[in-house]
């Protein structure tokens, strides 16, 4: 199985400098804030991985780390069998040539001062010497593929619609063919009918360009429609990674269960009342312990990632040495 994985991430940790002001007498605040901790997953050929999580759980940070905007402090990223060293420029270029990204906000991600053509041209790596004519050819090819009419090429982002803007973002990400495309909530700011168009387009592109997606979203319908596997992110940690079907039918982690429950009750009754109290993420032990209905004594220790068949769960409930205690 490891042979066919294109991207293999293990133990990824990202932290930001803590900008909170220190209290005068309350002592120093922690210097670092860990945003992603012990993130491990792999993306196999022809597979779409979904990443779900609440706002602020680190979804976008993960995406930005994978294209080298942020640097991890520890962990390993292996792309096509090549270990990426974030300190090396060559490796970053390699990373960016193989992993593209589509940002969430279609307005902010397009420079208002450039025409659509110039925006798409940005996707062609600057250091690659390609004649202007070849560039123009690949630009018209990709814009054709994403369904932008050629008359839009000389327009400015302001004059095209939201759906078209997202198509431009896609074209920019794919004009230089990528192995993996990170989609950071690409449909969340579009209305439903446009969402459907974009999702269908993404499915079409997946087949025609044989690109693999990492789909970041908090919309379960999108997950169901697009993804094969799903990773549940909670405050910087993957609590469960499993196939979409498994997660829907039988979520293992209490948090995944809560998410699924919320989703299902919304689908059936249009109303959702959580039976769990919602607590802050815990700083010690299991990160979900403050909200978990199934917590027990062991949860004060950080749980290991436990592989169970083709899924991975980070919860003491499934620990095999449970019997000892």
């Amino acid at each position: 199985m490891k042979d066919e994985s294109i991207l293999n991430v293990s133990g990824l940790k990202v932290r930001f400098r803590n900008r909170e002001k220190r209290g005068f007498l309350t002592g120093a605040a922690e210097k670092w804030k860990v945003v992603l901790d012990d993130i491990s997953f792999s993306v196999n050929e022809g597979e779409t991985l979904g990443i779900v999580g609440e706002t602020g759980s680190g979804k976008s940070t993960l995406a930005r780390t994978l294209v080298g905007i942020y640097r991890p402090v520890s962990g390993e990223v292996i792309l096509n069998g090549k270990r990426i060293d974030y300190g090396k420029k060559v490796d970053l270029v390699y990373l960016r040539n193989n992993i593209g990204i589509v940002f969430q906000d279609p307005i902010g991600s397009l420079n208002p001062r450039l025409t659509v053509r110039e925006i798409v041209r940005e996707g062609i790596p600057f250091n690659r010497k390609i004649s202007r004519k070849e560039q123009d050819n690949s630009i018209s090819e990709i814009t054709d593929l994403v369904g932008l009419s050629s008359s839009k090429l000389d327009e400015f982002p302001e004059t095209i619609s939201g759906g078209e803007k997202q198509r431009v973002s896609l074209a920019r990400a794919l004009v230089n063919r990528k192995k993996i495309l990170l989609l950071d909530e690409p449909t969340s700011s579009l209305d439903v009918s446009i969402q459907a168009q974009i999702l269908n387009l993404l499915r079409k592109l997946r087949e025609e360009l044989s690109v693999n997606y990492i789909f970041i979203t908090h919309d379960f319908n999108v997950i169901k429609y697009m993804c094969d596997r799903i990773a549940v992110l909670y405050y910087g940690q993957f609590l469960e990674v499993s196939s979409v079907q498994d997660l829907y039918e039988n979520p293992f982690h209490p948090y995944s269960a809560e998410l699924m429950n919320a989703n299902l009750t919304l689908e059936t009754s249009n109303k959702f009342e959580s039976q769990y109290e919602i607590g802050e993420p815990s700083r010690e032990g299991c990160i979900y312990v403050n909200s978990c209905p199934k917590r027990f004594s062991k949860c004060s220790l950080p749980p290991p990632s436990i592989p169970l068949g083709n899924r991975v769960v980070k919860c003491w409930l499934y620990s095999s040495d449970d019997a000892k205690n």
């Binding site: 930005r64 294209v67 080298g68 905007i69 270029v93 960016r96 990204i101 940002f103 969430q104 906000d105 902010g108 991600s109 397009l110 420079n111 208002p112 001062r113 025409t115 925006i119 940005e122 996707g123 062609i124 790596p125 600057f126 250091n127 400015f156 302001e158 004059t159 920019r172």
Partner: protein, 300 residues
């Protein structure tokens, strides 16, 4: 309805920058805004006065050829000063010097201010901290007293005034530009440019500065006006090159040679009105540019 369509046109034009036709149609939009029309008219006539005014000066402004303190007459449209120099000629020739001083100050301050602001805002970290502490120091120093002291020690030429004023006005600009750069810096399209491998300088030139142009334009106009006023203020206190013919030195000689005792209003009013008009014109024009580039605020 028509209003909103042409506002869109303008945003497109401003957004694109560059070619002549776009610039021309930007001017067209500016002319449709009454503030833009008024401001441009006032500033344009003052600029024309500055460039060509001296051709119409009836006398050499620095030669006395009439009785002193003569009120306006046919031969001396704005009367004469304390040694019988023609004030109308002083006003026309002085306009050129004053506006040149203002423009030079604006160019110096904008160049340094934009460079420092963009570099600090884009690169951040130690560079930002270092540059901004320098700016803080310069901003804390009270400007006018420092100007007075510097002008007193440096050789009293017009160039000195220009350089001193230019160097003292950039810190404020760099602050404004830095904060705007910081917000642009967070836009995903800048990230997209970084991902395509563009270097920091290229991103600054290609993605950041073009988005700052309306802000730079408004600040440049105000700097130029501020320059004219500051230079006049210095001259009024007898600092700088007092032999130079400009509106500031007109005010200086008025107070130094007891214009007020002789009730010589014709000597005081022309440079005063010239400076006021500059300020009014600049305000109108910058308001219009602001309304056009920020259509959400709307314009009437």
């Amino acid at each position: 309805m028509t209003n909103s369509t042409h506002i869109n046109d303008v945003r497109k034009i401003i957004a694109s920058g560059g070619s002549m036709t776009r610039f021309r149609s930007f001017l067209k939009q500016l002319m449709r805004n009454w503030k833009g029309r008024t401001g441009a008219l006032i500033l344009l006539s003052l600029v024309l006065l500055a460039i060509f005014g001296y051709l119409f000066a009836p006398y050499n402004p620095v030669s006395s050829n009439a009785p002193s303190f003569q009120p306006p007459t046919h031969s001396h449209l704005l009367g004469t000063d304390y040694i019988g120099e023609d004030i109308f000629s002083w006003f026309l020739v002085g306009a050129g010097t004053s506006l040149l001083v203002g423009a030079s100050i604006a160019v110096i301050a904008i160049t340094i201010g934009v460079a420092v602001g963009v570099i600090a805002g884009y690169f951040g970290g130690y560079i930002d901290n270092g540059l901004m502490r320098v700016v803080d120091v310069l901003l804390v120093i009270p400007g006018f007293p420092l100007l007075v002291i510097l002008s007193a020690f440096l050789p009293p030429t017009l160039e000195t005034t220009i350089i001193v004023l230019g160097i003292l006005s950039w810190p404020f600009i760099s602050r404004v530009i830095r904060s705007q750069t910081l917000t642009l810096r967070r836009r995903p399209y800048i990230m997209a440019s970084e991902l395509s491998g563009l270097s920091g300088l290229r991103i600054i030139v290609r993605d950041i500065i073009p988005n700052l142009i309306p802000l730079i334009f408004i600040n440049a106009i105000f700097l130029a006006i501020g320059g004219v006023v500051a230079q006049a203020g210095l001259a009024f206190f007898g600092l700088g090159d007092l032999r130079s013919v400009n509106w500031g030195t007109m005010l200086y000689w008025f107070q130094a040679e007891d214009g007020i005792v002789y009730n010589a209003w014709w000597w005081l009013i022309p440079p005063g009105i010239g400076i006021i008009l500059l300020g009014v014109g600049a305000n109108f024009l910058s308001n219009a540019v602001y309304e056009i580039t920020q259509p959400a605020r709307g314009s009437k």
